[in-house]
């Protein structure tokens, strides 16, 4: 990043902070090099027998494609990206495999699309609590993000 670009980023960030758009202690945003993970949240679970889902946005601000190769959650034995697909009105769900992050793009995991399946929960996900999700990228390496748990009936963080 050129120094002018960097200065520009610092100034705009300071401005945004000053006007209150972003708080300096955003707990659910994490970055490593050029990969940023943000806006993470998960649905509360009923007990531990049912799987739960987590959602987040990954931005690749680098110049090269990166790949999300694996996930690890503190609350479940298994965490993997699944995709929901719709054919003739029938919803199907299955592992999405490694998620590609083209340079300069963002991948949004949201209800009804890609989501992190949290399977074999070690503890119930309770509304208001947080857990740590580690996303490992081929280029950027591991990134820890704090995931707030919202209600079962939540569709995302309240805007």
């Amino acid at each position: 990043m050129s120094s002018i670009k960097f200065l520009g980023a610092v100034i705009s960030l300071t401005f945004l902070m000053a006007v209150g758009f972003i708080s300096p202690a955003v707990p659910d945003t994490a970055r490593n090099d050029e990969v940023i993970v943000e806006a993470a949240w998960a649905r509360a679970s009923i007990g531990t027998s049912r799987p739960s889902a987590a959602y987040l946005t990954i931005r690749n601000e680098g110049d090269e494609t990166d790949v999300l190769t694996s996930l690890k959650a503190s609350v479940s034995e298994v965490a993997e990206v699944h995709a929901m697909t719709m054919t003739d009105g029938v919803a199907r769900m299955g592992p999405a495999g490694a998620v590609k992050l083209p340079a300069g793009h963002e991948v949004v995991l949201k209800p009804g699309g890609l989501h992190v399946m949290l399977m074999n929960l070690k503890q119930p996900l309770k509304e208001g609590e947080k857990f740590t999700l580690t996303l490992t990228f081929k280029g950027a390496g591991p990134i820890d993000v704090s995931v707030p748990v919202l209600g079962i009936g939540a569709s995302g963080p309240v805007q």
Binding site: I46, R50, M84, G89, M93, G112, G153
Partner: protein, 204 residues
């Protein structure tokens, strides 16, 4: 009158009679019959033509026809579904909240496609997280198959390692108070689209 004329009239009459008989059969019992048309079409049947019973989340046995008299929303899913089912039930909750008092007289049915795991008790605990108008329904595998056939819903069990998930039709069916099918609200349809569809059913 010459014989050939009589013969011609006779033939014409016979043709007319057999044509109307054929037409009548076509419309009443044949491929043109409304019931048969409904059964063979991909559209859900009217509630009045459905013949199944389910167990609600309170443990009561109910007939499909018990829904008649009030508009009805129906969604098939299962409680082990982490993504699309809670999303749809949250959407339905949002639609009902937008409709406000109009939803005092509406039935909302969440029918499981996974009766093995979704007992009446499991449904009761699950639906507590959504709008109070939403009722949960389960039953035997046959009950669920019969209900799904009425709504033309498809579902299948997919084994994944030691557990399984379900593929299933994901739209929300909208019926008016007389049990006539009004429309389907597809997944991903906005609230701006969904609410008028429900209003249409409420106003019919």
């Amino acid at each position: 009158m010459p014989t050939w004329k009589l013969l011609l009239i006779g033939c014409g009459l016979a043709l007319a009679i057999s044509t109307s008989l054929l037409f009548g059969w076509w419309q009443v019992d044949g491929p043109g019959a409304p019931e048969r048309k409904a059964r063979e079409s991909k559209l859900p049947l009217p509630i009045g033509q459905m013949d199944f019973a389910l167990t609600d989340h309170k443990g009561n046995r109910v007939q499909a026809t018990d829904w008649l008299g009030e508009p009805l929303l129906v969604f098939f899913g299962f409680t082990y579904c982490p993504d699309i089912c809670p999303t749809t039930l949250a959407d339905i909750t949002g639609w009902l909240e937008s409709l406000g008092d109009d939803t005092k007289h509406i039935n909302v049915a969440f029918i499981t496609v996974d009766p093995e795991r979704d007992t009446a008790e499991a449904m009761a605990v699950y639906i507590e997280n959504f709008h109070p108008a939403i009722a949960g329904y389960t039953g035997s595998s046959q009950d669920i198959a019969d209900a799904a056939a009425g709504f033309k819903v498809k579902y299948e069990r997919i084994v994944t390692g030691q557990t399984y998930t379900m593929n299933h039709t994901a739209g929300v069916f909208v019926y008016d108070a007389e049990g006539r099918f009004v429309s389907i609200i597809d997944f991903h349809e906005s609230r701006e689209n969904a609410v008028p569809k429900i209003r249409r059913a409420l106003e019919r």
